[in-house]
Every structure is written in structure tokens, then in C-alpha cells.
Amino acid sequence: MWSFSKIADFIHEFLGSYLNSTWTMIAEMVIAGVAVIGLFALLGLVLVIMERKVSAWIQIRLGPNRVGPKGMLQSLADTLKLLVKEAMTPGGADKFLFNLAPYIAMIVAMLLMAPIAFAKDFQLWDLNIGVLYITAVSSISVISILMAGWASNNKYSLLGAMRSGAQIVSYELSAGLAILTIIIFTGDLQVSEIIKSQADGWWIFKGHVPAIVAFIIFIIAVTAETNRAPFDLAEAESELTAGFHTEYSGMKFALFFLAEYVNVFIVCAIGATLFLGGWMPLHIGHWTGFNHVMDYIPSSMWFFGKTFFLIFVIMWFRWTFPRLRIDQLLNLEWKYLLPLSMLNILLATAIAILGWHF
């Protein structure tokens, strides 16, 4: 059957027959880098048109419907427009930091791609502290936002960046605690091991109440971490024009825009990996017949299906809920999510020690 891992093995053997092992590795790294950039471009196009269609249907509108069949090429046309626009740097800005910020946002998103398992045996880097690496690297993204806000030399940008800093720093706590709940059950930080532990059922089903509570807290916290509505205070169109990227135009703006969508994809992929079993098909205990039927669906389909379901949920949040004020936002984190996730982690520990999970 067709699968990503077979393609990867074929490329490895093909290169190995022509080059020695060092050059094979270098060539594979280049191929992987190009593939990741290609995936970014594709994700940007797909997620933007998906967001616009979802928002339109939720708001009883039609959405883009002129460019291409049913408007599906709209995001391609928008990308072309952004590519030919001038990327201006304001006179009063700190030029070096101003131009560096969008690239840091993109590099963080690229680094986060490394430990994600896209299909069975198809992963860039299966390091043994995968989940720790993800939580550590994802917090760098706040630096790019602060850098953009500071370097723009604009009050709106700086206000947006400071809000975003407060928001990401506080919501990382409950996102981390929610991830920790699953780590308690699996006892391993390696992404492939976490997925393997879900071969007889996903953690959201196996982990009883703590897993469900952790899943809800995780989804809320990552929505805040990626600066999306209802937590989009960093941008807050109605108050701060566009927040930290007010002064950006052309392709530099597009990089921030792309980084936002890629970050949404990544956090949803992490959520799918931890709670919904990554590429693991839906397996229920010892129903071997049912499990065998589910194995016929390719593992990449399972992964992308779950990830896009979570992306849809986050878009659904965005177009349903009103934006929070900054004090309400911090109240929600420090007075509700953090105490609840601490209690939840205590409960999860008790269940894990007593062996009540399946």
C-alpha cells in the first residue's frame, strides 16, 4: 500500500546507491528542508481559504466565490498580490530588528515541524525529549512578536506586543500542565513512544476524566498561545489597528500571517498526537476485527484528518466567541485554567499510580 515511509525509504536507497553516507545525509537534509518549506506554502494556501470559507458559512455568507472553481484559488491570488507588493520599512524603525522579526517567527514554526510524526515511520527527528523540545521551542515565538512590536517604533505595535507577551507567558503554564497530564500516563517524552502507547485506544478515551479536562484546557490554552480570537489581543483590530504587525507590509506581513497559520497547524498536530493518537488509527481494546479494518485507512490520512478537525474547532471558536478584555484574559488563566489544571494533574497522577487507566 502507498505510504510516506516507503517514499522516504526509496529516496534513501536511491541516494545511498550514488553517494557515500555523509553526502546522503546532507542531500536528505536539503530535501527535508525543501519539503518543509513546500508544506508551509501549501498549508498557508489551504488554511487561509479554509478559514475564509468556514468564517463565511458560520456567518451565513458565501465567502470567496469568484477566483477559480468556487473561489478555491482566492488565496493563491492573494499570495501573488502580496509577493509583488513593496515591503516597506518605516523611517523611525530599528531596521535590523524590524527585518529580523518575521524570519524568527518563521524559523520557530520550522523548528517545531521537526518532531511531528506525519505518518507511520515518517518523522524528521524522533528525539527522546520530543514533547519537552516542543514546549521549549514554541515559547521562542513570543520573542519575534516582542521584537516586531518594539522595532516598529509605533505605540499600537508595542501595546500589542506587550499584551501578547503577557498572554503567551501565562497561557504556556496551563498548556504545559495539560501536556504533562498525558506524559504522566505514557511515562515517556518521545513522540513515537507516545503514539505507540495509544495502539489500543487514544488517550482521550483511555484517560478518563483527567484526559478530557486536559484536552479542553489544552485547546483553550493553545488558542491563546497562537494569538487567535477570542484571545487575539495582540492584534485586536478594533483597538490596535493590527497590533504588532501594524507597520509590516508585503511579504514581511505575509510571513507573520503564514507563521500564524503554521503555528495553528503545529499546535493542532501536537494536540492530535497527544490526545487523539497521532497517525494511530482508531483502535478499541481487543476488537481485532474492527482494528484490522481501521488499519486499511492510511496513517497519513488519520494524522491529517485529526489535525484538520482540531484546526476546524479552533476556527469555530474564532467565529463564535467575542474577544476578551486583557484583564478577563488573565483572570481566565490565573483564576480558572491554572487551578483547574493543577487539580487535574493531581487526579491524573492518582489514576496513573492506581493503574485505573486502560
Binding site: 458559512w57 458560520i58 451565513i60 458565501l62 469555530w316 463564535t320 466567541f321 483547574l340
Partner: protein
């Protein structure tokens, strides 16, 4: 007590968020609810809401009769002087003098479609039409005379 209020808050929040998400999911899955009109493409089949206010018109029946008595209630009600009622005196067959309208001048370029004249009219002589393509090349074309030439007041309207 504090702790019961806290727990109530959490569950109440989850419930109300769920209600909102249920509503938007309904709209997401029911495309027949979409209210967008693809206007220039569907000029013939376009559906406007019943209470859409495009411009003030005076309906006439087939005998070229209207219901306006010339009471100037609409002129007084109009906040920005859009309507001017020019009256004249007609001699009725019994030989009595009776007030009637000569012209009801309506300045579309001043009108804000506030509907106050229609509310003020005691005899339902004027109403809002659903036309909205009002662009013209000359501003004078926007000053309209609402009563048809040679029209009379309907019998029985006082």
C-alpha cells in the same frame, strides 16, 4: 459560598459557550440559511427584505387617483426638508372651495430614508418603494414630483 460559586461559574461558562457553538455549527452545516445576494448577477430574481426603504413614492390607482389630501403632515415631520407640499384650491361640483395638492416635491438627494413621513401620513398616501439604483448624471433628476400629472384625490379620502 465562594467555592460553589466558582464551580457554578466554570460549568455555566462551558454551557453558554456550548450553546453559542451549537448555533454556529447549525449555520455552518445549513447552507440554505445563507442570506448573501449576488447582486449584479441576480437583478431579476433578487429578494429584498419587506421593510427595505429605497425612496418615497405615491401610489396611484388605475383611474390616476391618489390618497393625498395636502395636509402637509409629511412636510412637518421631515427632519431635513426633503418634502415640499404645494397646495391649490379646487372648486368641487357643489361649488365649495377645497384644498388639494398641486405638487408634492420630493428631494431624493436630501432624503435619509428615516420613514418619518410615512409614519406621519394620516391617509396612507405615500409609502417606501424598494428601488435602490438611484444613480443619475444630473443632480436635478433627483428632485421628483410624486403625484402624476392630472391626478386627483380619491373619493372618500378626507
Amino acid at each position: 459560598m465562594f467555592i460553589t460559586k466558582y464551580i457554578k461559574d466554570v460549568f455555566g461558562a462551558l454551557k453558554s459557550l456550548g450553546v453559542g457553538m451549537k448555533r454556529t455549527l447549525y449555520y455552518f452545516t445549513h447552507h440554505k440559511e445563507i442570506i448573501t445576494e449576488q447582486y449584479p448577477d441576480n437583478r431579476e430574481t433578487m429578494h429584498l427584505p419587506e421593510r427595505f426603504k429605497g425612496e418615497v413614492v405615491m401610489p396611484h390607482d388605475e383611474k390616476n387617483e391618489h390618497r393625498c389630501t395636502g395636509c402637509t403632515a409629511c412636510e412637518l415631520a421631515c427632519p431635513n426638508g426633503t418634502i415640499k407640499v404645494v397646495t391649490k384650491f379646487e372648486i368641487t361640483p357643489e361649488g365649495k372651495k377645497k384644498k388639494a395638492i398641486d405638487k408634492l416635491v420630493y428631494h431624493l438627494e436630501l432624503c435619509t430614508m428615516c420613514n418619518l413621513c410615512i409614519v406621519a401620513c394620516p391617509s396612507d398616501a405615500i409609502k417606501m418603494a424598494q428601488t435602490f439604483e438611484h444613480s443619475v448624471y444630473d443632480r436635478n433628476e433627483l428632485t421628483k414630483i410624486l403625484n402624476n400629472p392630472g391626478s386627483k384625490i380619491m373619493d372618500g379620502v378626507e
